[in-house]
Amino acid sequence: MDAAALVDRIPFASRAGDEPQNVVEVHGVGKKYQRTVALREIELKIRRGEVFGLIGPDGSGKSSLIRAMAGVQQYDAGTIDVFGIRIDSQRSAERVKPRIGLMPQGLGNNLYPELSINENIDYFAGLRLVPQDILRERKEQLLAMTRLAEFRDRPMKQLSGGMKQKLGLVCTLIHQPELVLLDEPTTGVDPVSRREFWSILNDQVHESGMTAIISTAYMDEADYMDRLALLMDGKIISQGSEDTLLKRAPGTIVSYASKNVLLETQRIGRHHRQVQSLGDLVRVFVRDTDPETARECLERIASPDHGVFSTSPPDLEDVVAGLLIDDSAGTTPVTGDGRVDHAAVARPLTCHSDGSASIRADQLVRDFGTFRAVDHVCLEVAAGTIFGLLGSNGAGKTTVIKMLTGLLPPTSGSGSVAGAAIGRASQSIRERIGYMSQSFSLYLDLTAMENLEFYAGVYGLFPTQRSKRIAELVEQVGLQGHQRRLTGDLPMGIRQRLALACALVHRPRVIFLDEPTSGVDVIGRRQFWEILVRLARQDGVAILVTTHYMAEAERCDDLALMYAGRVVASGTPAKLRDQLHRRRGTPLAIATSSPMRSLRLAREHGFPRAAILGRTLRLLTTDIQRDQRRLAELFRDAKIAVTDWRHDDIAMEDVFVDSILTQEESLGQAPGQTFPAAERG
């Protein structure tokens, strides 16, 4: 895949010979902010013409590294050379700035809300002294490519998330930099806009031969990168092309259905360290084996009533989790230390379900002024199940949760939580639910224990009950050994479990979790989900969780995909996939020598929803034989070499993208241009 992609670029040629081959060289770089270490011993070499990715959770040091390379922030140790110039002073940093472009973190944060698209672009061009005639030409070209041209006089504050992000890119590219540094440009953006963003970026890199450094928290975007570095706690834990990274932890993923997923994961967990439960499926990473041996291996240890084994190669997330586990081998496993209350688990899953749902929303609507943040949303969550509310930033997820928890009165519609109607009985609702907000409401200057005691007090637990309950919680979420530490010093993964414990202190029957895993690394996320699954299955708690990680969607029992305030698709993950399969067929992934040209061709010839995913063309087809033949002819005529045809399984993202496109078509809008901008309430 790597080689095929590189043919497509114009690398290594244009520059004079005295310029080094590596655009950026980072050697032994370290950076500290007061107490916290942001970067340690970073080593990187970024080649001309490549798309280089920095992948890591929030707080792993991506921004600090990007800002140090862009010469807009100092670092404490080591050296950074950009275009062969050592960046060690303000003066030397100024020398590289004409040749670089930086798009800082935060959706639209570097743009000016009061200014129109046009004025924003002119400002950036003016700062960069782009000559008027070139500016005019380049602006038209970039606006056309990003499909922003018709909105050029609209103030930036009225743009949707995806449009802000495209405008940010236009502003960063307006002076044709040789090196662009993009800090989390796709965080919080819906998947359709994400795909479009990557297409535009790849197109630019490919056409102009520039170099791009991009950070992201999404593991699945590794597909779009030539090479990447994985960051954790300020360290690079691995780097190289995606293929070479995948080879670091070879093995096979085996997944199968099981009657009692929880017990099964515990059982398998004694033999294999990477076991996950996805709804009714058990997913095991069998290290260092080919599919055949992996099957045999599991046949021996799985419970006799297991479903059919299906195997697949591990994805990057599995590999990274594997590498991290290897790294920390010998340290304590953090959760679920293997002991299971068999009696509890054996109880039927729907023990609490008496036909009425624990959470129910019926035609909920919420307006902010003229802007409809939530548009007739219906959902039902039964006791003992996990319900996932998915969507990009501003899709309305948080507003739905706020209405259900009684923090915000709905404009119209009704709902009930734990048997109490929302709107009227918000006090009684609050006593029955646990709520973990986006920015975990913990006191960072208190220790973990003090936070727990505080919440126990707030919820009115008697002192005698308190210590007993807290001990239970510490055990339940795996906080052993951290009780006496200051919350501010805890790693994100632990902090998030502490926040969960605080939300559980009064034994709520219903819990709401608003983006609980953003900013947490792969391992932390997986451990957190194991806790959630146990809470639902063992204790019969109804859980409503929001996330923008597609990978987490698979772990929910039920899903609702939100887009621009509406639920555009809902059902179990399997049902959603099945529906899409029946409607649109299966995904066909085509690796070609020129992804962008092949995309254009495919779109013009009957595949309007074709997209570039990573460096492969991806489209849905109901008749694989016929379409493969047609496309092969098309590409042959256009002299595009096809290196690989692959039939893929439907991913959750395919479902989401298709639902959004259908929604937009029915509204008669161009994709990704939905209005108005969804501002947070």
Partner: protein
């Protein structure tokens, strides 16, 4: 220095300010409002002091003394009281600020040529005002005594009252106040308000203008671009100085039209000084913005750093000449002291360019030094 970049930045800034409702209000509405609030609030004139009289004598002499108070424009005679306790109660309730107690046999003592005593009771809660009230009371009493003497002389010697007056007080003092003939305090305070308001509003809007970009991250556009530090400071400075100059004109007009303070100097010379002054205070705001990260911190710091020293050391409340050497040095480190000199000279004394030359020079140097400091302090590659 590339002027296209400077203009680009200045234009962007101006657009943002005029379109952002909060900033617009802060920039254009706040100064006149503050001006009126401070101007009418700091009226130090003591007039129409509510006064009561406890008259134990009840004779023509005591009534004559009472009429002296009733006639005075400085006193507002509320009425007679019957008992000492009433005085206490009225003063405690702030219904009266002073009381005059005329003892029994007042008339008799006067007639018999013996000294008579009159007691005054004054609300001492605000010492400066109490002192003024005390002096007014003394003045009324003194004029009453004088009248008694001349009447007595005229009666006993049989001479006309005018001759008796000349005999009784051979030297009479004739006071004339220059520049502020009526001693209206608004004439002194009003123009001072221009200085006070322009001491803290420009720093607030300028520091917020920079810190806002820091807070949301758009400052990175500046950090990562080729805009130089002097260009950045100048580009940010221009729109805020223009806005503050407009404020200056509005405040100038308020002083003339609302406060009705006469202006005797050269308007152009005064405007030049004013623009230099707002340039200085705007630059102060920019320096503040380099030290803080949040808008709220910027506002608080801007007020603390500018407003309080300005009130203390500008010369408006305490004249510079009565400060200690150290105090005077501190005062001279603030732009306000130079501007206040210019205000006094222009409004009441009527000086033109020549008289303001020293203020203009001082403020010009001050602005240049601040500009240089801003350029040095601003870092395009900060520590964090």
């Amino acid at each position: 220095m590339n002027f296209r970049r400077v203009v680009t930045l200045a234009v962007k800034e101006a657009r943002e300010i005029t379109r952002d409702r909060l900033l617009f209000t802060l920039a254009f509405l706040m100064p006149p409002v503050m001006m009126v609030v401070i101007g009418f609030g700091v009226n130090t004139d003591v007039r129409e002091i509510p006064i009561v009289i406890l008259d134990f004598d009840r004779t023509s002499s005591s009534r004559e003394l009472a009429y002296k108070f009733k006639d005075s424009q400085y006193f507002d005679f509320i009425g007679y009281v019957r008992h000492r306790n009433e005085i206490q109660r009225l003063i405690t309730d702030s219904k009266a600020r002073a009381a005059i107690v005329i003892p029994p046999r007042f008339h008799e003592r006067l007639r018999s040529g013996r000294p008579a005593e009159v007691q005054t009771i004054i609300d001492g809660a605000i010492p400066a005002r109490a002192e003024t009230v005390g002096s007014y009371v003394s003045a009324v009493i003194a004029s009453f005594s004088q009248r008694q003497v001349t009447d007595h002389l005229a009666f006993t010697q049989g001479i006309p009252p005018a001759a008796a007056t000349a005999l009784a007080s051979p030297v009479s003092l004739e006071t004339r106040f220059l520049y502020n003939e009526a001693m209206t305090s608004l004439w002194a305070i009003g123009p001072g308000c221009i200085m006070t308001v322009l001491a803290f509003i420009p720093p607030i809007i300028a520091s917020v203008g920079v810190v806002r970009e820091k807070e949301c991250g758009s400052i990175d556009n500046v950090y990562s671009s080729t805009l130089t530090r002097p260009e950045f400071v100048l580009g940010k400075l221009i729109p805020y100085v223009v806005i503050s100059s407009i404020s200056f004109c509005m405040l100038f007009a308020t002083t003339l039209l609302v406060f009705q303070v006469p202006f005797r100097g050269s308007p152009i010379a005064f405007a030049v000084t004013g623009i230099l002054y707002v340039t200085c205070t705007t630059l102060l705001g920019m320096i503040i913005s380099f030290f803080v990260r949040s808008q709220i911190a910027a506002v608080i710091l801007a007020v603390l750093v500018t407003l309080i020293p300005t009130l203390q050391y500008s010369g408006m409340i305490v004249p510079l000449s009565s400060l200690s050497d150290a105090g005077r040095l501190q005062a001279r480190m603030l732009p306000a002291s130079y501007f206040f000199e210019a205000i006094q000279a222009s409004f009441l004394k009527g000086t033109g360019f020549v008289g303001l030359a020293s203020s203009i020079t001082a403020l010009g140097i001050y602005a240049l030094v601040l500009y240089a400091l801003c350029c040095l302090k601003f870092s395009k590659r900060p520590k964090s």
